[in-house]
């Protein structure tokens, strides 16, 4: 929900998603082309700064969204740097040869990639991203699944919330035994709702003359060309910085 809120309320909401996608691609290339961990870290910092100060995403919100990813990144990086040594019988953690360098390389690249991805998702609503993917000729079937999943996510979260409330109001979660029973009921109820809603959506699509593929209007953005030019230049700037920084 935090991502969703930011995507709709940020300063760059009306900037063309193509431009934001272009800049994200530039940032990805730049962090992978960076010739040192320091350069990758600088690029990551620049992208974070742009997201926070440029698009106006609150730092607290940014941190909350990034924390789970940073946690996994930390775990993964540590496993790269250390290995389990059981040579003399007692297991011990040992720093691998060149482990720290590898940790720095992979860690900063991953941070840069994460920053680039967060820049895109925190500034662009998913509906605009899907429209962008449609323009990039991603297979229609995949996009239809994305559209329906995204829409249903909210419909079902509302259904789960309503069922949970109704169950709680009748002491459905009062004891551990009742919790298991109520969760079972919730799952059964949702299964039925999935089936019923799928049928209702099918009827609604038929009623509006649908005969197979789901077709939607592409959103239009007023300064798309200008935005893309600026984003292209910014992305290229990052790549140049990555390869030329000593």
């Amino acid at each position: 929900m935090l991502i969703e809120q930011s995507a709709y309320t940020n300063r760059w909401r009306r900037v063309s998603p193509a431009a934001k996608g272009l800049f994200t691609a530039g940032a990805f290339i730049a962090v992978f082309a960076a010739n040192s961990p320091l350069t990758a870290a600088i690029i990551a910092s620049l992208v974070v700064a742009l997201t926070v100060f440029g698009a106006g995403i609150a730092p607290s919100c940014y941190l909350r969204v990034a924390t789970p990813a940073l946690f996994f990144l930390a775990l993964g990086s540590l496993s790269l740097a250390f290995s389990l040594d059981i040579g003399d019988g007692t297991p011990a953690l040992k720093l691998t040869s060149g482990g720290l360098l590898k940790l720095a390389e992979v860690g900063t690249r991953s941070l840069g990639s994460l920053a680039a991805l967060l820049f895109l998702v925190l500034t662009t609503p998913l509906i605009d991203l899907i429209a962008l993917l449609r323009r990039l000729k991603v297979p229609a079937l995949l996009l239809e699944i994305m559209v329906l999943c995204y829409r249903m996510l909210f419909v079902f979260s509302a259904a789960v919330h309503e069922t949970l409330t109704a169950q709680s109001a009748r002491l459905g979660y009062a004891t551990p035994r009742l919790v298991i029973r109520s969760l079972g009921g919730l799952a059964a109820n949702l299964t039925l709702q999935v089936w019923q809603r799928a049928h209702a959506l099918h009827l609604a699509a038929l009623a509006r003359n649908n005969d197979g593929p789901l077709r939607f209007l592409e959103p239009s953005f007023a300064h798309s060309r200008r935005d893309c030019r600026i984003a292209g230049l910014a992305g290229a700037g990052l790549i140049v910085l990555a390869v030329s920084w000593a």
């Binding site: 709709y8 209702a200 077709r215 939607f216 209007l217």
Partner: protein, 285 residues
Amino acid sequence: MNDALLELCQISYRYPDGSVGLDACSIAIQRGSRNVLIGANGSGKTTLFQHTNGLLRPQTGVVRYAGMAVDYSRAGLRALRSQVGMVFQNPDHQLFSASVQEDVSFGPLNLGLDMATVRQRVAAALQAVGMTEHADKAVHNLSFGQKKRVCIAGVLAMQPTLLILDEPMAGLDHAMQQELLAVLDQLHAAGITLLMATHDIDFAYRWAERIHLMAAGRCTASLNATDLGEHAEALAAVGLPLPQVITLHRALVERGILPANPPPRCTASLLTMLAEAKITQETTC
């Protein structure tokens, strides 16, 4: 003169579980009229609606649109559904695109229209329901009433000649109901025939030109709203009382306070009549 836009003649439909949806049901909707279908839950209103749009095919009987029997071929259904727009009761059952604008564009794009025309229609439909400023919003961020309006816009963008609304007032607060009614009045003024399901006899009497009563899968009576007061028995047969305004008006007529004609259709008209009667009394004194 028979100017029926839509006719269902002796339609029967039984669901696979054996329950009766419609039982020799006949109904006619006149072109350009405002119609209400009123009946208890399970009386067959939704089943009837699904026949109007070709979503269900009658097991016996015939559905006629503009005088022609409905053709259930792919092309025939396409033609019917481009003329008969249906707004479902629950907006979450109808809206499946994430953005307002995208969802409204779904129907016109299915008609095979070009992008420029679709954009034009989407903008006009959103304007008609007062949702232009929400065009780029995500559907899940809208209120229930706004979702209903988007549903109507999605159907309007297909420019139907007959608009079917399944209990559109359900779940709406008073202000939203008034806003929705204003939208429907505009549509009617633009020449769209309206057919709406409701449980509210007072509203039906106030708003509709024709009132169709449903019970046990049958249309038991189709009445002119102006004559509703004379059909208390038909209403009682489907478990409905006379509209309150009729009962109240009759009581006031009996006491000699108000004239019998014209009968008021809503409380506001009754109050106006009372105010006028008071002025007349004062001037005669």
